[in-house]
Structure formats: structure tokens, C-alpha cells
Amino acid sequence: MTAPLLQVQDLTLYRGSRKILDSVSLDLAPGETLALVGESGAGKSTISAALMGLVEGARVEGHARFDDVPDLIGLNEKGWSRLRGRRLSMVFQDAGAALNPCYTVGSQLATVLRRNMGLPRKQAHARAVELLESVGINDARARMQAYPHQLSGGMQQRVMVAIALACNPELLFADEPTSALDVTIQAQIVRLILDQTRAHGASCIFVLHDLALASQACDRIVVLYAGQVMESGRCDVVLADPRHPYTKLLKSCVVEIGTENLDPPEGGVPSYDALPQGCRFASRCPRAQDQCWASRPPLTESAGRMMACWNPEVAA
């Protein structure tokens, strides 16, 4: 295995007295795609925001080494400005809100190129047209003059991808890039992000809530619950044979075509104030024991994946 591009260790984030992220560790090899999955409030988006230096009003602890940058946590604004948009970039869920409605997509794209790559005006314009073409926008030269609201949701997301990839970043965050889009457009955008990151040799971290999509799009997966990593590993290992009760629960609740019966447990994610001391999932876990309530299980390797559970499922 080559040296990981990104290595996150014990990332912990407090908002007031609430521990939003609790010792999250993960790593990412160059060219790899990783899925962060979990229910709402699991901290998926917070991780990507913390790694992009976009959290405010929170205390962040832990370490995150990115390539030759020893630690992303605690980086100053100058350090971030050298990374953000150039080596790290992001595709947001709501492209319509992320694009500035006052400028044409062409000028927004060209501005990024001029500022971050130092291209002169003419070249930036030419490169912007190329980029729009590469993300599958027909008649790119004319579309350069369009304002974001004149484009459909799918087109806006394509522009977002073009902007995110404008400077050949090494790592792309895609925060629910398709959940606001129709299914047929969703497939187009996921395909586009995968093709483009592959072509650039970039790594990609997807924040997703759809396990089936994660299994299709990503090499590896990290399952989060209330800010703790429950299980992580290769998608074809973790999702094919989930051993952590939470991953199993999530998978059992996915309704696919032809699903005959669902058997979801009652209840939902408790509020952050009412989480158990030990494993945060203990209050909903069908296999919880006294130990689970008392102490937090460490993330250890077993059955070909990393898992934090005192009483995992046995092999099927």
C-alpha cells in the first residue's frame, strides 16, 4: 500500500459541551474514493467541513496529515488559502446556493482559474470553456454567459464539479452531491465525478446517505453514528457482510426494488445530550451488553475491516 494521501487521527470536535465528532480516524490512499455514511446528525458533513477548515465556533482536536502538510487541524488562514480550492476542493449539495447568482458561470469559473492558477484573462477563459466541455455541458461557449439560475439543477451541479476540479485538486469532497437531483441526473453526476477524479488522479470523499450508491461509487466506506466511527473498510467487505450491528441496521432498512419485508427497530437517533457514555449506539443496539454502555469499544481490525464493537455480529 502506498503512503496515504490523507491520514486523520482522533479528530474530535466540540460545539459547546457537545462532542459532535468523537475520535474519528480514517485514511485515504491516492486515487481512492471513500464514502462517509450515516444518518443525519452522524457528523458526516462536519468531518468534510473540518478537513476543509470550514467550521466556525467549534473546538477541534486531533491530527490530519495531508500529503506534505503535517497537520490540517489548526492551520492558519494563510495556510488554508494555499490549500483550499487548489489542492482540496468541494462539491456542495445545493449547487444553486453555492454558485453566486450575480455572476455568469463563465466568470465564476475564470475567476477561480485566474486567482488560484494565475492564468491570464484570455487563457483562463479558454480553459474555462474546456472545463465546461469536459463536464459534459454542450455548447459550452454559449453557456459561459449563462447565470446560474438559467441552468437546471443538473447543469448547476456540473458547473460546480467543473469549478471544483479547475485547479486539479488532489482531494475532492463531494457533500451529498446528488441528493437534490432526479435519479437519472444523479447517475450522470456521480458518473461524472468518478470519471473526472479518475482522469485527474484525484482522491474523492463522498458524503452519502444512500448505502447502495456508496457500494456502487466508492472503494471504501466509513460508517458513522453520532460522531463515532462504527465500522470502516472496503465497500465490498463491509457492505456485503456487515458485522457491526449499526451497519447491519442501516443496510436492513434500505428498500430496494423487490424488497419484501423491512424490519426496522423502533426509535431514532437520540439527541446529543442523551447519548450513552460508552458506545454511542448502545441505546439502539439489539446486541448491547453492559460493557457497551460503560466503555467505548476501540476501533480494531477484525474480519478484514476496522470495527468498533464489543459484541459484533458473527459471520453469516
Partner: protein, 291 residues
């Protein structure tokens, strides 16, 4: 991560309401001052050391201190007593006119918000016409028609406030009207009047009540301005605006005559606007940033 907020609203809200006075020390102080004024107004005959209209030639323009704590005016009337009694009129006019103005604004605003076609057009032009003039000038105009006296001042000030209230109510009605729960109610074939009464009205009245607390200070200021101009309440009623006007001629050698009632007025206005802002920030969902 926006969804996390929905899970923890209940405890957050109760915690928030409990220590509002702790978190807003200025608000707490302003509340105490405003309540002090209200108490003064309510118990004026017991608190005031003298009769507010008792004149005395022996003690004309006595400086503060001594027998008259805040001095006396050119007729030898005790300024402290007059200020205490004056708070009655100030608060009475403030509350009543805001209440009346809000009631008028509510009716006009709801009608304008729910009507369509030419009715809406006419109502909106009426509201616009009221809004074009500042409330003081409008109040002067109404006084010119109605004549002087406490009741007339209340009506004039109330009329001058109908415009802003109506405008706000209409905006709220338009916003509430388009909400899904109103459509859901009409889908259940609930009669229109019931929908208005049960769903639209409560959602409009609450922000209106908040707005009323903010506007009381404006009403008091307008009424004081009217009496300062000599067209509000008639002398010898102990009214602050009137007192300031009377002391105007003696400012160089008896500054307390205008200064003391001016101070009382300023203090009340500042206190009321802090209270109003606090109430608005606390209860107006549009300004609440954390939810």
C-alpha cells in the same frame, strides 16, 4: 448537519426562556425601570409628595433639593409630583393609542392581505397614503380635526400608527396565507372564515403583539411632542411635553423646569425601546438565528 437541530429543540427552548434576564442584563434593568414607571403611574396619589396642580407663590422656581426634591416651576408647582402624575398620562396615551392603532392595523392589514382585485388595491393605497407622512405630522393633522384633550390625543396618535401596523400585518398575512397548513385546511373543506380565524389570525397576532411593545415608546414620544407644540393635552394637566414647553423660556436660569421632565421622558423611552427590542429578539422567529 442541519437536521441535528430538530432533535434538541425542547430542552434548548426551556433553558433559553429561564435565564433571559441573566443573559440580557440591559433588558432586565430596562424592565425594572419600565415597571417602576408603571408603579408610579398606578400609585401616583400615594407616591407624589404634593398635589401636582397646587400652585404656590412662595416657592416659585425653587431649585432642586430642599422641600421640593426636583424643584418647582414658574407657578410653584412641585416638579417631582408633576412628573409622577405625568407618567400616568404618558403611559395611558402610549398604551391606549398603540392598542387602538394595532387593532385598526390588524383589521385593515388582514383585509388587505386577504382581499384581491380592486378591494386590495384601494386598501393598499389607503395604507400607502398613511405611510407617506411621518406619524408626528399625521397626528398634528388629526388633532387639527379632532381638537385637544387626552382622548383626542389617543385617537390621533392611534390613527397615525395604523399605517405601519397595517403594512406589517398584511405582509404577515401574505406570508402565512401561502403556507402549506392553510392549503391543508382548505383541502379538508374547512370554511374560509374558520381558516382565517383559527390558522391565519393566531399566526399574525403574535408578531403584532411583539411589534406593539416596540411601538409604545414611539407613541409616547409623539404624544409628548404634540403637547410640547401646545396642541396636545391642555394645561394645567401634568404632562411631560407640556412641562418641557413651559420651562423653555426659563432654561437659562431654571434649567430643571424643562430638564427634569425631559430626563424622565428620555429614561422611559430608552427603557421601553430596550424592552421592546429584547422581546422582539427573544420571540420573533424571523430574528432568531439559532433555530
Amino acid at each position: 448537519m442541519t437536521d441535528t437541530t430538530t432533535h434538541m429543540t425542547t430542552p434548548a427552548v426551556t433553558r433559553k426562556r429561564r435565564n433571559i434576564f441573566m443573559r440580557r442584563p440591559f433588558f432586565a434593568a430596562a424592565c425594572i425601570i419600565a415597571i417602576g414607571y408603571v408603579l408610579c403611574a398606578a400609585f401616583a396619589p400615594w407616591i407624589a409628595p404634593y398635589d401636582p396642580v397646587a400652585q404656590s407663590i412662595d416657592a416659585m422656581m425653587a431649585p432642586p433639593g430642599g422641600a421640593n426634591l426636583l424643584g418647582t416651576d414658574s407657578y410653584g408647582q412641585d416638579i417631582l409630583s408633576r412628573i409622577i402624575y405625568g407618567s400616568r398620562y404618558a403611559l395611558l396615551i402610549g398604551f391606549c393609542s398603540v392598542l387602538l392603532g394595532a387593532a385598526g392595523g390588524l383589521i385593515l392589514g388582514i383585509a388587505a392581505g386577504l382581499a384581491s382585485g380592486w378591494v386590495e388595491w384601494v386598501l393598499m393605497r389607503i395604507i400607502d397614503a398613511i405611510l407617506t407622512l411621518p406619524s408626528l405630522i399625521l397626528a398634528v393633522a388629526f388633532i387639527a380635526i379632532l381638537g385637544q384633550g387626552v382622548d383626542k390625543v389617543i385617537i390621533a396618535v392611534a390613527l397615525s400608527m395604523v399605517g405601519p401596523f397595517a403594512w406589517m400585518v398584511r405582509a404577515d398575512v401574505l406570508q402565512v396565507k401561502s403556507q402549506l397548513f392553510v392549503e391543508a385546511a382548505s383541502l379538508m373543506s374547512i370554511p374560509r372564515l374558520q381558516v382565517i380565524w383559527r390558522h391565519i389570525l393566531p399566526n399574525v397576532v403574535f408578531p403584532l403583539a411583539v411589534q406593539m411593545t416596540v411601538r409604545i415608546s414611539e407613541a409616547i414620544l409623539v404624544s409628548a411632542s404634540l403637547s410640547f407644540l401646545g396642541i396636545g393635552v391642555t394645561p394645567p394637566t401634568p404632562d411631560w411635553g407640556l412641562m418641557i414647553a413651559e420651562g423653555r423660556g426659563f432654561v437659562s436660569f431654571a434649567p430643571w423646569m424643562s430638564g427634569m421632565p425631559g430626563l424622565a421622558l428620555a429614561l422611559l423611552l430608552i427603557a421601553l425601546s430596550i424592552v421592546g427590542d429584547g422581546v422582539r429578539e427573544e420571540f420573533d422567529p424571523k430574528l432568531r438565528s439559532d433555530r
